[in-house]
């Protein structure tokens, strides 16, 4: 029997989701403390989201709210590192472009940012590096995210490379660093400043966005402007960006040198961040290919003999999704699902799969995405201490009655 409590726990990301290994189904669950402390709460201007922490505010989107390829602004997840978050007055906001790699430092108002450069638009997934950290086995410390620290939006802005060009980048520039308006509670705490390699900064898809799904960005998603780094995890997507610095030497703060790093050799990735690599670790870069089932949750009851449409999302770092497959036998056999509209290679891709549940009892459904480079999801977690890159095949167990 699916109780109200079961469904509530599922909505909070608290109920165990199954993860698939061929022939068996392993359970992945959030830590008990994360299940117990999660609540559905409403930030100003937002629909109820799953609260992981109040201050700084960290809120994820319930899986059931990912019902379309585009995530509505008021359902988009919220993630901050520092508690000193100010509401930016767009009239006062300035973006300074400088650093020792900029020969012509300058400043922009929001109006100038919008009018001085060509406007561009793209759809891209913004996914927290630590999305699904809470499902790590064994558990690792951090914000104990379930599946919902991600969202997909149509971003409007200007190319970062156009903004950098006006600053006259010197040939010695190795990284471009970004600071937001947020500040730590204590002066001694490292401010959240992040950098990307210059080659990624001048990629035509890297933009400074001032609109999200046709509206100004919500405060909690970076109003009035934020960086969009399609294909890369959200740690680089600086919110409320106020400073862009061209650097001749790699940025060496806590947030680059100690945080957001993955062990070398464990993950296959194409985008190297060479100026920040060391012998053991390298900065996290691109998002791994992944998918999620959004239409049904573990423990849900379905009627025997009634048509059932399983739905979900698939995404990767920008190769684009080639196919999504669904298994109904614990991963022994797979059938190709129908893909929805292609909104661009950096976007969520919706998918659906129709079936008819005949046998009463548990029905395990699994989804697996493959991108256009042939990369696919893993059956077993590639464990790493910070809990990044969890793209274990998800499974939900329904009860057919």
């Amino acid at each position: 029997m699916t109780t109200r409590r079961t469904l509530l726990q599922t909505a909070l990301g608290g109920l165990a989701f199954s993860t698939g290994i061929a022939g068996q189904v392993a359970r992945a669950a959030l830590p008990q403390g994360a299940i117990d402390s999660a609540t559905l709460e409403r930030l100003p201007g937002k629909q109820p989201l799953i609260k992981r922490s109040y201050r700084p505010p960290n809120y994820e989107t319930p899986l059931a709210d990912f019902s379309s390829a585009i995530t509505p602004n008021d359902r988009f997840f919220v993630r901050w590192h520092l508690m000193g978050i100010t509401e930016v007055d767009a009239r006062e906001w300035r973006l300074t472009i400088g650093g020792d790699g900029a020969t012509k430092p300058y400043e922009l108002t929001l109006d100038q940012l919008k009018s001085d450069f060509e406007a561009v638009e793209l759809v891209a997934v913004c996914q927290c590096s630590g999305n699904r950290r809470g499902l790590s086995d064994p558990h690792v410390p951090g914000v104990e995210w379930g599946y919902g620290a991600m969202g997909n939006a149509r971003w409007t802005g200007v190319r970062l490379k156009d903004v950098l060009e006006r600053a006259g980048l010197s040939k010695e520039t190795v990284e471009i660093a970004f600071d937001g308006a947020d500040r730590p509670a204590l002066d001694v705490t490292p401010d959240f400043i992040k950098s990307i390699p210059v080659w990624k900064a001048v990629d035509e898809n890297t933009i400074i966005a001032y609109a999200m799904n046709g509206e100004p960005l919500p405060h909690h998603n970076g109003y009035p402007a934020r960086l969009i780094v399609p294909g890369w995890t959200a740690t680089y997507w600086m919110k409320q960006v106020v400073s862009i610095q061209a650097l001749r030497k790699p940025l060496a703060n806590f947030w680059m040198a100690s945080a957001y790093r993955i062990p070398k050799g464990k993950f296959a990735f194409a985008d190297r961040f060479i100026s920040q690599e060391n012998d053991a670790t390298t900065p996290i870069t691109e998002i791994v290919v992944n998918s999620v089932i959004t239409s049904h949750a573990d423990g849900q009851r379905v009627s025997r003999g009634s048509p059932l449409t399983l739905k979900g999302l698939a995404w990767d770092s920008g190769a684009g999704i080639r196919r999504v497959e669904v298994s109904r036998d614990g991963g022994r056999s797979w059938n190709v699902a129908d893909l929805g509209d292609d909104l661009g290679r950096f976007s969520f891709r919706t998918w659906q799969f129709g079936l008819n549940a005949q046998d009463p009892g548990p029905l395990v459904l699994m989804a697996r995405a493959t991108n256009r480079q042939g990369s696919t999801q893993v059956s077993e977690l590639i464990f790493n201490n910070p809990g990044y890159h969890n793209n274990v095949i998800q499974a939900v167990t329904l009860t057919v009655v």
Binding site: R42, P48, S67, M83, E144, L186, Q300
Partner: protein, 97 residues
């Protein structure tokens, strides 16, 4: 269109009945002789639910590493004696041995 499933029906019910505005004052750490110290020091920079959500799986060495991160990397104003008491509290109330 949203797929109206049992889940979203329950979710809508929650929206009406159970959803409140964000307010960290209701976060209550396990009461103990050192709860006040933990709240006083840790709450300078973050709400106490950071501790709660990491409850139930970290060993002493892990909690020590977390407290060290707060003092060394983030500069939390916590002296060694206090740090020791905070670690003991976290292990006692939110850790595993």
């Amino acid at each position: 269109m949203r797929n109206v499933s049992m889940l979203s029906a329950v979710f809508l019910g929650l929206c009406i009945s159970g959803v409140t505005l964000a307010d960290e004052s209701k976060v209550a750490l396990s009461p103990d002789t050192d709860t006040a110290l933990v709240m006083a020091r840790c709450s300078i920079c973050h709400s106490a639910d950071y501790i709660q959500m990491n409850g139930g799986f970290l060993k002493r060495a892990n909690w020590e590493a977390e407290v060290k991160k707060m003092t060394k990397a983030f500069g939390a104003p916590v002296n060694d004696e206090e740090a020791g008491k905070i670690v003991d509290y976290l292990v006692r109330q939110y850790g595993v041995e």
